[in-house]
Symmetry: C3
Subunit: 273 residues, 3 copies
């Protein structure tokens, strides 16, 4: 009896982890209502905010935030990402099952950089209104479609119930660095809160001779490589292996974005010795 | 035995949902301490943030955020709203039981637009210090009164324990649109993060001949009606049925507030064909 | 059987409360990934945000936010504070057990104002990589060291497992007010969201003759003492006993910081009658 009850309760009470990545901000009630909808369907959901201050409509920033964070969550987590300037129009809504996670969001590429690192098991268009709120607004599918679908998914509804199988999902192009001889040329793709400039150069992918390059050239400057911020004097710039595995340009104790006057798309070159 | 244990545990472990709507912001520790106080009393509380960036002291903005979101939470949820410029003074503190929810906050109108849509069952003044923190500050009743009362309420303390019955609660006037013939004249009451301008015109309340009006007149402009943002070209304005059921003025891919230079109180007219 | 199961389940399901105080902001994915890491180790963790908008690298502001809030959480809570400009360098990482709580963070003083009010039971350097993520970045120990250590601690790993005992931790000096005769001279140490200016003068520590002083002198002004904001007319300044037990300078319905043009370090004098 005891074992049986324990097993049943374990299933019943096991945590259902759902993450949210949106451009809804936190000054309005939008994210709160999504959580209310989800908890009404699945009261055991543990909902974690990844980011809500994605610039309005900036699909690439949302895709990057999700790709940088999703793999730090336990297997089985359901990741919901809603940066959705085309809400209410022709773009599809999808759920994607991978070897480790489920993903739910608009099919506009916001999921694609995370999905690129996962083994895809199933892709479904979200068309079964049984699992939507009713009525469905034309401007807030986060609340009316994505939140309830994620909650039903976390409650054990099989992904096949949500709509027809799709062969593919929309993919955002990743700005690949260019390689010429031993040189690697890349660009700035993101600034974080601290003003660190994240580049598209994956440190692991650098040719081994360039793993410890002596020079980063950027806007006429030559930057040293360091392992952490205080490897250079306060106020000085350096390049380092950022926490997402991408080369970053930083200033010890300051904002590289401001001090070096950087903008998205600025070019840099890694030159091995 | 199994059934009995399961039933007891279900009661014991069932989720106690509490929402928070405040003007405390998230840069200080205020909201965190409210959660600490609540979890100390009711460790099973699931606390959901609706909004904390209500402009300081803006009771109407708080009332609007709560009214737009409360009904998306499951029955039994306890909604706490604290926008409280009169804290420590003469205004009462109240708890209100409705057919579906409980509400806790200062009696200054911040609860009133949500309560207007609910069937009221009981109104109580919060006066029983047994359920307050001790000592009680004169400037942070969110932490010292509203948080512990909400937590005790979620733990099963009957609302009658908190203080004497009241006959009524403070109500904020809702700015009703004016109707002249088939025309409906309203105004802008809220801007969301995206710069969408929410009006006081409830789309459902428009006369049926006006449900599909051909013209919205606003500041000398004539705006088309659409169903979603991309119904017009990028950068163009439209009016649509917003996600709260109110007519909204939006710009596809932009901020209506900025592009149309709108402010709270700006007038608009819906003119049926 | 029933009692046994209930007891086992109680232990298994009891809430593991962890708080977070950081300068990571909420616009990036940093805090979300910390939560993912923790929930992967301890799925029952209830994680509460105290503050994430601590100004980048401002150890004192982080220490103050933690000191103002930690004691409102139930006994057994694990407090994680990460304001860590020296990340990846020589500063130690520590866990501290006190009579009531556990604290986890860099040993740079960010924990010290909270710890000053607690009875210290054990201090450990975090050196056992068994309890870290692997690989460990050099720039994000919040995710790679502090989050997993806090989660293991909440799962019952004894603090002695994380590394060698330390005799002490780094302490930030607290700016003590000066007393001359009956006068107490202090300074502004923090502004909250509302523009209230928190001083270093603990109201409880004022000489009893000064508990109800008639004058606060500040920048050539004489401010009245009140008990709550509306004790003075709208737009007028006053001094009051703030919610953290420290003397605050406030303006009824406005920002004292803006209206009185205050800055951190501004001096004030409490003069008893």
């Amino acid at each position: 009896v005891a074992a049986h009850i324990t097993a049943r309760l374990y299933l019943f009470w096991s945590v259902k982890l759902i993450t949210l990545t949106t451009d809804f901000g936190t000054r309005d009630w939008f994210v709160g209502t999504m959580k209310g909808v989800m908890l009404g369907i699945q009261p055991r959901a543990a909902i974690v905010d990844i980011a809500h201050e994605i610039p309005p409509g900036d699909i690439r920033a949302g895709a990057f935030a999700l790709a940088a964070s999703f793999a730090y969550f336990p297997k089985g987590t359901i990741h919901v990402a809603v940066v959705d300037p085309g809400v209410g129009g022709e773009r599809k809504a999808i759920a994607v099952q991978t070897a480790n996670y489920s993903f739910v969001g608009p099919d506009n590429g916001v999921l694609s950089w995370a999905l690129a690192r996962e083994e895809i098991k199933a892709i479904r268009a979200l068309e079964n209104k049984t699992y939507f709120l009713s009525p469905i607004s034309r401007t807030f599918h986060g609340r009316d479609i994505f939140a309830p679908v994620a909650a039903h998914l976390s409650s054990g509804v099989p992904i096949s119930k949500f709509g027809p199988a799709l062969q593919n999902f929309a993919r955002l192009p990743w700005p690949e660095p260019r390689r010429t001889g031993g040189r690697v040329q890349g660009e700035i793709i993101y600034f974080d809160r601290f003003g660190n400039a994240v580049t598209n150069i994956r440190v692991h992918d650098l040719p081994s001779s360039a793993r410890k390059p002596t020079r980063i050239r950027m806007k006429g400057r030559s930057l040293p490589i360091g392992e952490f911020y205080q490897a250079v004097a306060p106020g000085r710039a350096l390049a380092l292996n950022g926490s997402s595995g991408l080369l970053e340009i930083s200033v010890n104790g300051g904002s590289a974005a401001e001090i070096l006057k950087l903008t998205i798309g600025d070019q840099l070159t890694v030159e091995p010795r």
